[in-house]
């Protein structure tokens, strides 16, 4: 377990920034009420075996007692670095993103399942969409009852969505909560 270095930090923050915009500040400055201290600590990012964890400081302190090789996981895993050096967010960071999301898409109940099987979001399945999405922005996908289902990358801007035909792709799939079942081993 080690803190992220410069390049890794920028990679992680850039990725998260795509989804949350200025709310990234809230993620970093989020006070943690864990541990025995009366003063609330902070959360920080730690790297362990290619995976990036979002951990409270008190937990980091206690985790130092465990040898690096023996440490399987700590805090919340939010993503991993690939062999090529790029950073990928994983489903586990969904709660973090959904509470701070800038761009949102709500799915109609009929198309929820399709998304949860790993398909892209089509225009026909779109229940609601935030104004002012540009192509390439990170988008968090919700069900109509505000349950976060996953996230992805916008393929079209909100403006273009209007003229899109119902089979056009609006959001490219990146992760969804169905992965907890489908890819149980990998997570």
């Amino acid at each position: 377990m080690r803190p992220l270095d410069e390049t890794e930090t920028t990679a992680v923050f850039e990725k998260i920034f795509k989804f949350t915009g200025n709310n990234l500040k809230n993620i970093v400055e989020n006070p943690s009420h864990e541990g025995p201290d009366s003063e609330p600590g902070r959360y920080c990012f730690r790297l362990n075996k290619n995976k990036v964890y979002y951990v409270s400081e008190s937990l980091v302190k206690r985790a130092t007692n465990i040898a690096r090789t023996n440490l399987v996981s700590l805090g919340t895993c939010i993503g991993k670095f690939t062999h090529g050096g790029s950073f990928h967010l994983t489903v586990q960071c969904l709660s973090l993103l959904s509470s701070n999301a800038k761009h949102k898409v709500w799915l109609k109940p009929t198309s929820e399942m399709s998304f949860l099987y790993g398909n892209h979001v089509l225009k026909g399945g779109l229940g609601r969409i935030t104004e002012n999405i540009a192509p390439g922005d990170g988008v968090v996908v919700f069900s109509m009852s505000d349950v976060p289902l996953g996230f992805g990358v916008a393929a079209k801007s909100t403006q273009d969505c209007r003229k899109l035909d119902p089979n056009g792709i609006v959001v490219l799939h990146q992760a969804d909560i169905g992965e907890y079942l489908r890819m149980e081993d990998e997570l």
Partner: protein, 841 residues
Amino acid sequence: MGTKKKNSQKQKITLPPELPPEISEDEIEVSDEDLQFVDENRDYAGFVSRLDTQSITKHVTRVAEVKEDALEALYEKRLKKKQLLLKDQEVDKLEVDPVDALPVKTLDGKLLYRTVPKTSKVSENNEEGETGGDDKEGTGVIKLTKAERRAKLKKSRKEARKQGKEAATTEVEQTSQAAVLAEVKEDITAEEAFENKKRKIAELGTNLLSDPESNIKSLKELLQLCIDDDHSIVKLGLLSLLAVFKDIIPGYRIRLPTEKELQMKVSKDVKKMRYYESTLLSSYKACLQKLSVLLKQSSFQQVAIRCICTLLDAVPHFNFRESLLGVVVGNISSPDEVVRKLCCSAIKSIFTNEGKHGGEATGEAVRLIADHVKAHNCQLHPDTIEVFLSLSFYEDLGRSEKADEKNNVKNKKGKKRKNLKEPGQLPVNDRKRSKQEVMTKMREEVEADYKSAAFTPDIMERRRMQTETLSAVFETYFRILKHTVQPTASSSEANASPSAGSCGSHPLLAPCLRGLGKFSHLIDLDFMGDLISYLRRLASGGNGSESTSVKSLSVSERLQCCIVAFKVMKSNLEALNVDLQDFFVQLYNIILEYRPGRDQGEVLAEALKIMLCEDRQHDMQKAAAFVKRLATFSLCFGSTESMAALVTLKHLLQKNVKCRNLLENDAGGGSVSGSIAKYQPYASDPNLSGALASVLWELNLLSKHYHPAISTVASGISSMSVVPNQVYLSNISPIQAFKDLSLEQESLTPPTDLLKSNGKRKRGSGSLISAGIESSLDTASIDEDEVRKKLSAHFMLLRDIKENQRLRDELDHANLSLQLYEEYKQQKRKAKRTKSKKTIA
């Protein structure tokens, strides 16, 4: 002719007449010599009598003829007064320079120099005499000795004096009378001329109205009358011209005949008609030119504008509409309130009465206004844009027509098919076919003719015009928005032109937003993105992160931006449900900045209604955040705003069942409140405020609100979760609630004032204002009967005091009289005693 004349004239010249100033005509002594002189020189004195008989009688009779008795009397009185005063001055003046006698304007309007021939005659004589006398003297000087000369001089002087006197007196008579007459005449004629002109105008007007075709020439006369020094005459003339034009202008546009047409032989009637039309047109043109000239003079501006506006209103189809429109649009943001109102109403009437001109003028006016706004860089009075609100666009126009056309096309196709089939089925001979062709050709021709002659304009044409109008309107609106967003230009402009209006540096923004809201359903989808982004920038003015210049926007304007954005979205996006998160964030923050007195409550209520009540779905977090914020701020709003806020709050709670956790007694937190475990009242994003972790204690406070309606609503909301299936009162919109309450408040205020004053009176002059307020606050909640009782008791007391005072006064009076009586008795007794003593003695 001889010496006498010479003498008299000479003396007159050498000696300037020393006239006794106070001599009236009767007192002048006329010596025998004089008489003789006059007798002998009747030629010279004759004009006196001539003048008298002619001019005076003429005048008197004329006056008597024309004027009413009262007027005459008045003039006579004035005349008498003036006579005394004027005589000397006038005489002197006239003596010095007799040609200066003022000309007189008669009934016919001719200028008559009545006094000039006479006086000039005199002066001629004078000159003659002068020269003659000089000559004589010149010759005589050599012969005469000094003594002789002296004697002669003396003699001549004496004579001269006499002569001079005589001449002067006659002159006095003539000139004074003439002058006074002239004066009076002038006086009379000024008024008379005014009256006459008025009458003339009226006469011409009625003639024109009764039979315009035969009296069309008098239009020119009427126009001539308008060129006058007298302002009121000009105004009257213009207004009567206006009335005439309004009535006689035909319902079509006049096209002057071309030269070819003029060469053609036409009947008498047509000629007459042509003459009539051309005269009408030329005088109309002249009138408009006159108006446009007068427009530049400040004293005539209002009249001219009134005329132009009325003409535009009455005859928008007629020739020269463009120039009228140009003038009106040019003055639409005039600093003069009256002018501006007139222009606005004229433009509005053009917009609303499109039937009069077939919609062409609307397009022109809108285009002109757009150019005007462009030229003035958006620094105009809000009324300029306000007029767009009265525009109306028919959406159905053309749609049904299109459908019809489609059907027609189908039918035609069907027909064609039939036609195609026919020749296949039976081979027709050529003659029949040619006949058919001729028939179809004829039919087409007839159709085309009908179309060109039809009164109603082509639907497609109207559609095209509407499109143009609409594009001009939106061009204007977008220009204003863009101008508002531009930081540097707007600020410099605002500094440069302080006359822009009362609404800060963006006077046009408010009406522009209103217009966008109204026509939001007509905006092209392509513009939508830009429009929304502009609105977002405007609405986020307070944050200042993007652009500092927009900070000057008021809360109401920013709220308006939010409202417009929602309206635009709502009316265009039936298919796609877009969540305008940014605007929600703005609203969430604007609620904090809202000040009841400063900002418009209606706008807030409308924003609450459109954004929170009518939007279909909300995130739970957002809804909870808004519920919390509205509850918090209804504590410190005025009663009307808090009512609107509470109605919205209730609405939100009804829609979002999960948010009713806020009504529970224990602070939620945990999984319910999402990732944020603690309520953060200062968060700027409703999604991050963690409002679900809080409890709506505010409702408890609000149920003790001083306003009964609010307290009932608040307690109703707080019991919502306890009685889940309660049937709520009909859901009124926040706007409705706001209006209801503000009306109620108006009716509520007077009684509290009354009570306040009563309280003051009760406590006397020493009581403080705070006491009065306290009493008013106290009594506000007390029911009416109690107040009445108290008041009656108070007035009873007052009456008793007064009664007491009166009684005491009476008592004092009685006492005094008793005392007096007693004293009187004593004195009497004493007197008796003394008397008796005396008698005894």
